[in-house]
Amino acid sequence: MTSLFELAKVLRSKNSGPFELTLDILFDSKENYDRVKYSGKISVETICKLYNITEDQVHHLVFFDQALGVKITIARKTSSGTVGDRDVYGAQQHAPLMKIMIE
């Protein structure tokens, strides 16, 4: 078992507009990308559990083979930069993904 943190080259979060947060996982080898892709660990269920959200709050979960990357877009609970928001750029919301264990 290896953590996603070790396998991924880039693991980041960012706003995609003020109402959504997008999580990017990018790899620098096809081997690591395929290992993660076919592990089945990157799923809507995993994301819901990690972020304490419901399935309808996961707007996209897409593998993009050319870029060796996975993109997950979720609804923001609070829109960017208003009362109650904790991360205006959404740039520090990726950390929970790092511990996902891949076989």
Partner: protein, 453 residues
């Protein structure tokens, strides 16, 4: 056709800065347009709501000076996208003022096109009543007319069409109000008859400056070249390199979908794209596709003021206090509320953010606290600034002297880094409009002015 159209992107956001040497390296090639994006919603609704920029005037002038001094004498069209950060009237006027100042100081003359992106509340209400407005994503509420009336500043993202018109009218400098980030770049390619899909996809890559290179940064220049059935990107700084992976990965950046991108009147499908390194550090992209949906929508952005804020940042080091800090903060909150029975509790909110404990992820945090100190930030959000200041001062003094269980440090609970401790923040805004509006014709108004000598 065997022509190539070259576009220079100096940096990711105008005012972020870039090495002049990179820019001048670009000037050694035949450049058909210098395009710089100035806008973003990343920093929240405040810029749009308050009519201010996120970068300083001085930095913006520094960046623009290099662009204008090199571009204007060579007759290279210069386009600024989403001027001033949010692209509303005050932002566009601010940018125009800086441009005029540089032209005057350098004895330059230029025909300037200003493309306004502002909409009045009446126009939006009318469209809303006609059922032409819908939320951009599922978690955005439907737009009420009341919401529109509360929204002081409303802009829409323009596509390439008005920019193209300004280019056809021989503009030397085009200052765009709010624009879809890739549009000002795409306009150059489309103006020269190049493929729209390639022009837009290249725009998507170029709008962040050198972020598509490695090491990536928004503070350096990148060169894009559109050819008949491909485009290439290369770094203008030898310290950075584009690779197929960095360019493909950048296609991903800050969009909700990795390869389906929606813009005003366009849908990009990049699922079949191929990214190839054709020479060292030069990446070629092919097979970008673009379709035009039957109905044309533009994205509206509006910000309304929701409250005023006062906040305090303090350190907590006492281990006994740290043990039960969240309960103690709850008790502080209750004591403050009890102290002001005459103030409606609907008129204010008290929030605690404990940096080191759970401030970033909030209720999503699952990691147990392990530190020996925290940064305790607390804020009061209220209907008026005076009320925010008043309640915050009481929260601060109550928290500072709160006599919690097992307390030994009876002199005070908080380490303030600054005096005064309370910071009056001002108005807080929210994106009250983030909707799509159906249009039938280009609603963006162009004004031409002569930049003085």
């Amino acid at each position: 056709m065997n022509k190539e159209i070259r576009i220079l992107s100096p940096c990711g956001i105008l005012g972020y800065g870039y090495p002049a040497s990179s820019f001048l390296r670009g000037m050694e090639e035949e450049i058909h347009g210098i395009v710089v994006d100035a806008g973003s919603t990343d920093a929240g609704p405040h810029k749009l709501g308050a009519g201010v920029s996120i970068v300083s005037r001085r930095a913006t002038k520094k960046d623009l000076e290099i662009i204008l001094k090199n571009g204007v004498p060579r007759n290279i069209p210069i386009i600024i996208g989403s001027a001033g950060g949010a692209g509303a009237r005050p932002h566009v006027e601010w940018t125009l003022d800086i441009v005029n100042e540089i032209l005057a100081e350098n004895g330059l003359q230029a025909k300037i096109a200003v493309i306004w992106a502002d909409f009045t509340q009446e126009e939006i209400i009318e469209a809303n009543n006609q059922g032409k407005i819908k939320p951009l994503s599922a978690n955005i509420p439907s737009l009420s007319n009341e919401m529109i009336q509360e929204t002081g500043s409303i802009v829409a993202q323009m596509g390439h069409e008005p920019i193209l018109e300004a280019l056809h009218n021989d503009s030397d400098i085009i200052i765009c109000g709010r624009a879809y980030d890739p549009s000002p770049f795409a306009a150059i390619g489309i103006y020269h008859g190049m493929d729209e899909a390639l022009s837009y996809h290249l725009g998507k890559i170029l709008e962040c400056g050198a972020l598509c290179a490695v090491p990536g940064t928004t503070k350096d220049c990148i060169l894009g070249t559109i050819k008949e059935d491909s485009f290439t990107v290369k770094s203008l700084n030898p310290a950075r390199k584009c690779t197929p992976m960095t360019v493909a990965a950048h296609t991903f950046y800050e969009k909700e979908h990795p390869y389906l991108l929606h813009g005003p009147g366009i849908e990009l499908d990049l699922s079949q794209c191929e990214f190839t390194e054709i020479e060292d550090g030069v990446v070629q992209v092919t097979k970008s596709k673009l379709t035009k949906p039957e109905q044309m929508f533009i994205k509206l952005e509006g910000a309304r003021r929701v409250a005023y804020r006062t906040f305090v940042i303090a350190g907590v080091r006492d281990p006994i206090l740290l043990e039960n800090i969240e309960e103690i903060q709850q008790a502080v909150k209750e004591q403050v509320t009890e102290y002001y029975p005459e103030i409606d509790t609907e008129d204010y909110e008290i929030h605690f953010y404990n940096y080191g404990m759970n401030a970033v992820l909030g209720e999503m945090e699952t990691e147990p606290f392990r530190g020996h100190e925290i940064g305790a930030l607390f804020e009061v959000i209220a209907k008026t600034q005076e009320l925010a200041n008043t309640i915050c001062a009481t929260v601060r003094s109550t928290f500072l002297h709160y006599g919690y269980d097992k307390r030994k440090s009876t002199a005070g609970n908080l380490a303030f880094p600054f005096a005064p401790s309370d910071i009056e923040f001002g108005a807080v805004y929210e994106f009250s409009i983030y909707h799509l509006m159906e249009i039938t014709e280009n609603p963006f108004r162009i004004e031409y002015v002569q930049g003085e000598m």
